[in-house]
């Protein structure tokens, strides 16, 4: 069991967990991910490593409860544990001094973006950060991101904080106004990354995205995570998770992501029903 040392609620749906996983913490680098499973019957979920501490033997995972497995993970507390934490997997981010780098995150993507921005900053880059969330309550790590950013822009869909709108609007303005942006990093929902790719394409600015496709083993064995790129099919788990956003077939990737939507819904209902039954049974006992 991989024990949860610390849990922190970051927003309504997002939890942070510091997990004891010495073998992962020892090797982890920005951009890599782990495969996580809650318990024997659980599925294996890829989660990008949000931070790591070799000396404390821990890695930090930031999890958004969107489906059954991630909601169940968010329900765990300090002292509980995961059945599986395997990694670090995938290629680490290639950190260089590019000059000025635009770091963009959508929603829970803030967490995996943070160590990349930190490393890029340490390598001497000027960091402009754009974070987009639906509403203010979903924003977290604002101060932490600020600490590694030279400029920071926050957008909310509903205008409850920062600028009202979506991240591609300030992105486009910056690209039009400034000629110095050498590289863009973007982590967030597939649809957001797709539109960021479309926005930077006419400006011909290298744009790196971190893809979160469906995986099972995470070691190149199943091929479930494969994406089509201009260079042919690639496995996100071993060739990625970072890719050139301009070369990804986004529609194909999103179609593959949605393949199990009906099953995911069924799993969620099954789980909620079980939880209610469990709660009812506990109530009877009391």
């Amino acid at each position: 069991m991989y024990r949860i040392q610390k849990k922190q609620t970051l927003s309504d749906t997002v939890s942070l967990m510091e997990v004891n996983a010495p073998q992962v913490a020892r090797k982890a680098r920005a951009g890599q991910f782990v495969m996580v499973r809650t318990r024997e019957e659980g599925e294996r979920i890829p989660l990008t490593i949000a931070d790591y501490d070799k000396d404390a033997h821990t890695i930090t995972l930031v999890i958004q409860g969107v489906g059954k497995s991630t909601m169940e993970m968010c329900g765990l507390n300090a002292g509980d544990g995961f059945a599986t934490v395997s990694g670090p997997l995938g290629q680490p981010t290639k950190i260089e001094n590019f000059g000025t780098v635009l770091c963009m995150a959508g929603g829970v993507g803030i967490a995996p973006l943070y160590p990349i921005a930190r490393e890029l900053k340490a390598a001497g880059n000027r960091i402009i950060t754009i974070i987009g969330v639906r509403t203010k309550g979903m924003l977290f790590w604002e101060a932490r991101m600020q600490s590694v950013s030279d400029v920071m822009i926050i957008t909310t869909d509903d205008g409850s904080y920062g600028r009202k709108g979506i991240v591609t609007e300030p992105l486009k303005e910056l690209l039009e106004e400034r000629g110095d942006i050498a590289h863009v990093w973007a982590i967030g929902p597939a649809i957001m990354m797709k539109f960021i790719a479309e926005t930077t394409r006419p400006f011909n600015i290298p744009t790196i995205v971190s893809l979160n496709t469906i995986m099972i083993d995470g070691t190149g064995m199943c091929g479930s995570c494969r994406v089509l790129t201009d260079e042919g099919p690639r496995f996100v788990c071993v060739d990625g998770p970072e890719f050139d956003a301009h070369k990804v077939d986004w529609n194909n990737m999103m179609q593959r992501l949605q393949f199990y939507r009906a099953e995911e819904q069924a799993a969620l209902e099954h789980w909620r029903h079980k939880c209610q039954m469990g709660a009812a049974a506990a109530g009877v006992k009391e």
Partner: protein
């Protein structure tokens, strides 16, 4: 001495009827009873020059253990088998015996060969029924440490062999369950996972330490392992599934066999939603390929409720690399075989696969594998409707080890280059065996190579000479 009465036919194992078994994942055959086993063992000719041992990649003393079965001394029989094979319950079930021991059985020249595989399975299952596994004598500790990457057939064999010689063995497994292809690849109905767990427990009972969730290459590189261990054995298998390189192969609903089978076997998706991992339940499922993996996928599809499970294979039944028993079981269960057929594209609606466009072949001159090459027949295109496609055309070693071990030589098809007499790689202290060295073969060949490697590793640990 009276002349032995020859019984021409092999004693058949009883099992579930096809119509019944396609609705469950329970094992198809039930194995011999004690009486059946003794009677089948009695068919052995005890010939002067037994070919069967030669045909066995791990050289089990086959006539020896069969004689003990015939005499009813099952304990001695299983101990004798385990002298050379740590995993008899597994190999008894999954070995292609027709091309190995049974293929060289003297009785088989005129009649059906002795059911060697069935008997091997019997003695292993008999031992399990007794409850207590016999742990052999373990040599005094040598103080030497060996890291084994991968807990599949090759890794488990090396671990068992070297642990018995007193070496300190740690097996590193990338997944959460030990067994490698035995756990993720071969279905429950052909190799129950309880049996895999039992054999893994046996290997651990020899003092082997098993570390799960540890991806050699990533969690620690081979060089890092060499800092802590005196030798490293790479048995990480053939983890990279092949695709066909045709249009539509990345559509939603197109699986690699590795993915389809891993979902069902390792993750128990057939018990969804009790288990969380989903798997698509197709009405019509096409499996591309003619090996054991293709048969496993096509038969899994039936058990997941497919109305139609179709194997598309480019040659004829005779060229199929699958075990005969698997082909026969698939046929009995109603799997449809579209032979001399090659898919050329997959079609879709809104990104989900709806079928395969295929062409027919005729057989041409033999290719490098010695099998007749399929030659496309022009204008023979036709379509097969399907909501799931499974690609089972082979796999090769995953690049994880190569990418993180720059100074190891790579040979054909991404396999680690080895000296076949010792299974030594080009890197000092590093041995390799099984699919990572062959590129993709059988459980028993992996075990045979593991035996060779074990001897060479023991020698290396003793002398330090490379």
């Amino acid at each position: 001495m009276p002349k032995k009465i020859i019984i021409p036919k092999k004693t058949q194992m009883l099992g579930q009827a096809p119509a019944e078994r396609i609705h469950n994942f329970n094992e198809v055959t039930w194995g011999y009873t004690e009486e059946q086993a003794m009677s089948e063992a009695g068919r052995c000719m005890e010939c002067a020059r037994p070919g069967c041992i030669e045909g066995c990649p791990v050289n089990i003393n086959i006539p020896g253990f069969i004689k003990l079965v015939a005499e009813g001394d099952f304990r001695a029989a299983v101990n004798l088998v385990k002298e050379t094979n740590a995993l008899p319950a597994i190999t008894g079930r999954v070995c292609p015996q027709e091309g190995q021991c049974e293929g060289l059985c003297t009785l088989g020249k005129k009649h059906e060969p002795v059911g060697i595989g069935n008997l091997e399975r019997f003695v292993a299952d008999w031992e399990a029924l007794q409850g207590n596994l016999h742990v052999p004598v373990i040599a005094p500790a040598t103080g030497k440490k060996v890291a084994v990457a991968g807990s599949g057939p090759a890794g488990l064999t090396v671990a068992a062999e070297l642990a018995r010689s007193g070496h300190n063995i740690t097996v590193f497994e990338a997944l959460h369950e030990a067994g490698g292809v035995l756990a993720y690849g071969i279905p429950e109905f052909r190799l129950p996972k309880a049996i895999v767990r039992r054999e893994v427990e046996y290997v651990c009972s020899l003092g082997v330490r098993l570390v799960r969730d540890f991806v050699v290459g990533n969690t620690a590189t081979v060089d890092e392992l060499l800092e802590e261990f005196d030798a490293v054995f790479l048995g990480t298998g053939a983890g990279l599934p092949w695709f066909l390189g045709i249009a539509g192969e990345n559509l939603a609903g197109v699986y690699s066999a590795n993915e389809y089978l891993t979902r069902s076997n390792l993750m128990k998706a057939y018990r969804f939603p009790e288990y969380d991992t989903p798997i698509a339940h197709g009405r019509s499922v096409i499996t591309i390929g003619g090996g054991n993996v293709a048969m496993d996928a096509a038969r899994t599809a039936l058990r997941l409720g497919a109305q139609e499970s179709i194997i598309v294979y480019r040659r004829t039944r005779d060229e199929m690399p699958a075990r005969l028993e698997e082909i026969r079981h698939a046929e009995e269960e109603g799997v449809v075989f579209e032979l001399l057929t090659t898919p050329v594209a997959f079609h879709d609606a809104d990104g989900r696969v709806t079928g395969a466009e295929c062409i027919r072949n005729k057989l041409g001159v033999p290719d490098a594998s010695g099998r007749s090459r399929p030659v496309p027949v022009s204008n023979s295109n036709f379509s097969i409707a399907a909501d799931i496609v499974v690609i089972a055309v082979g796999q090769s070693p995953s690049p994880l080890i190569h990418r993180t071990t720059p100074d190891i030589d790579i040979g054909r098809a991404g396999a680690v280059a080895v000296d076949e007499k010792t299974m030594k790689s080009s890197k000092k202290g590093v041995f390799a065996g099984g699919d990572i060295a062959t590129g993709g073969a059988t459980v028993i060949l992996a075990m045979g190579q593991a035996k060779i490697a074990s001897r060479a590793i023991a020698e290396y640990l003793k002398t330090g000479e490379w």
